[in-house]
Amino acid sequence: MNGRPDILEVRDLYKYFPISAGVFSRHIGDVKAVDGIDFSIRQGETLGLVGESGSGKTTAGRVVLRLLPATKGQVIFDGHDVHTLGPGDLRRLRREMQIIFQDPYASLNPRMSIGAIIGEPLRIHGLARGKDVDARVQDLLRRVGLQPYHANRYPHEFSGGQRQRIGIARALAVDPKFIVADEPVSALDVSIQAQVINLMQDLQAQFGLTYLFIAHDLSVVRHISTRVAVMYVGKIVEIADRDDLYDNPLHPYTQALLSAIPIPDRAVEIRRKRIILTGDIPSPVNPPSGCRFHTRCPVAFDRCKVEVPPLQTYAPGHVAACHWVEEHGGNAPDLTAVPAAVA
C-alpha cells in the first residue's frame, strides 16, 4: 500500500472567512476554519478525516476541491495546483475530482428528474450524446443499486438512502479518480449507512477510486479508511494508518475521541473508561494560543500554552502534533491514569 504514488497533496492550506461589522463593513476578524494543514492521499486509498463539529473538516474538503477559494496554500492534484488553474482548466479538472454531499435532501435539484441529474455531467463534459446518455444513466443507476426506470422520477420520490445513491451515481458519471465524501452517511439511518458504505467500497474496488472520507462517526471511519487524519479547530493533530491510529493513538485529543466509541458488548462497555474533556471546542475565530488543545488537555503543561506543536513522525506513517508525546520519547500519555479526565 505504501508503494502507491500520491494523487493529492495538500500543502500548508488555510481558509479564513472574514468577519466584517458596522456601517463600513470593517474587517474585524476571521473564522479560521482551516488553519494550516498538510496531508497527502495515495492513489486508491481512503483517507478518513475526523473531528468534532466546527473542527473545519467540511471546509477542508470544499477547499481541496476549490468549491471555496483557499486563503493560502496549495492543493496539488495529479500534478496540477488546483487553486491556480484558469476557469477552463478547472472545469476539465472537475471531471477527475468529485464530491458526495452530506444531506441527500438538499444536494439534488428538486426540479430535475434523476435522469437529468445524472445525465448532466455527461453532457457538459461531452462524455456522451443523445441515446448514449440514456444508456450511461441506466448503467450508472444499476451500479449504485437502483433501477433504470428511476431515471424518470424526481428526487422527492426517493428515500434518503436512495437519494444518496443517486448522489453517488452523479459523482461517478464523469468517471472521476478522486471523490471527497463529505459525511455521506451521517444523515442516514444506521441500517442504510451500512448499505451506502458497502456500496462506496464496492465502487472503489471497481473503479480504483480514491476517497477523502470526512466524518465524525469513528466506527464508520474505521471501517472504510486506509489512513485516518484527526482535525481539531482548523489543524490536523494526528495522521496514521487506520489500525495504528485506533490501537495506538498518540495525541490526547485522539485518545479522548476514540474513548467515546461505545463497545457493543455489555460486559466490556460497563467497564470501559471514558476520557471526558471539560469545556467546549474553542471558537475558530479566536483559537487558543500554542497548542489549540491545551485548554482541554488533561496533560497540558506550560510549553503547550505558548508554542504551537509541529506535526512530527513517531512511527512510519504515524505523525502527531503534541509536546507531551515529543518530550516523552514518542510515548502516548495514559489519560486513564489522570483522575480528572476519567469518568
Binding site: P110, R111, M112, G145, Q147, R170
Partner: protein, 308 residues
Amino acid sequence: MATTLVPGALTAPVPDDEFRLERHGVWKRFRKHRLALVGAVVIILIALVAIFAKFLAPADPNYIDQVNWQGTPLAPGVAHHVLGTDENGRDLLSRLMFGAQISLTVAFSAVLMELTIGTIVGAIAGYYGGWTDYALMRLTDVFLSIPLLPLLLVLTAIVAASSNKAALGFGVIVVIIGGTSWPAVARLVRASFLSLREKEFCEAARALGNRDGRIIFRHLLPNAVAPLIVQGTLEIANVIILESTLSFLGFGIQPPTASWGNMLANAESNMAIAPWVAIFPGLCILVTVLAINYLGDGLRDALDPNMK
C-alpha cells in the same frame, strides 16, 4: 444484466422493457389542472379573435354609423350593432375585437420585457452577491423611484418635438412600461437566488463543472419560477389597466385606434346613460385577466415536479 451490488437493494426489480425516458412531465401535470385548461382555451380564443379581427368583425372599428347614431351611444342590439355603439356611433363589438390586438400585444410584450430584464438583473445580483449585487440593486432602486406618469409626459414632449406626432407610438409604450416596471421582478428573483445559491445542489452543480450561466438558468431559475409566474400574471392585468390610464390621460394609444383601455376611459362621460360602453371592455379585461391567472396557476403547478 441488472447487477445489484448491495444485498437487499431498496427497490424491486422491474424489467428493462418497461423503461422509457419521459420528457413531457410538464404537460402531463398541466392536463390535470381543469381551470388552467379552461384558462388556456379562453386565452387562445381571445387571441384568435384578435388576430382574425379583420375577418370576424362585423364592421370597420372606426366607421361612424351616421344613419342611426344620434349623438348618444346606441344600445346593444339596436340597428345590427350586437353590443351597441360607443359615444361616437362606432360599432362596439368591432372595436373590442380590434382593441384586443392592441391591448393583448401591449400587455404580453411589456410583461415579457419586464420579466426578462427583471430575471436577468435579479439572477445576476442574487447569484454573484457582493458588489455586483450592491450595484445592480441600487440601479433597481433608481428605476423603482422613477414615477411613470411624469416620465411619460417628458417623453411625449420629446417625441412630439422631434417628430410631428403628438403621441407615443405603440412600441415606445411597450418599452417604457417594460423598461420601468422590472424592479419588482428583479427583487423577487434576487430574493429567491440568495437562498437557492446556498443550497447544496447549487454547489453540486459547480462541482460537476457547470458554467455559471447554466447554473443560473438551468439549476436555480426553475426553482424560482413559482413567484415569477404569479407576478407575471398579475402584471398582465396591471399593464392592461396602466395602458388605459395612459390612454385616459392622452399618452397611450391614441384615438381613433381602439384599445380596451381607451374604450373604458372614453366610456366614462356616458356612464349614466350608456353603461354598456364601459361594461363590455371591462368584461373583456376581467375575463382575460382571470383566464391568465388560472393559466398561471396551472403552469406553476405543472412546472413543479413535487405536485402530483
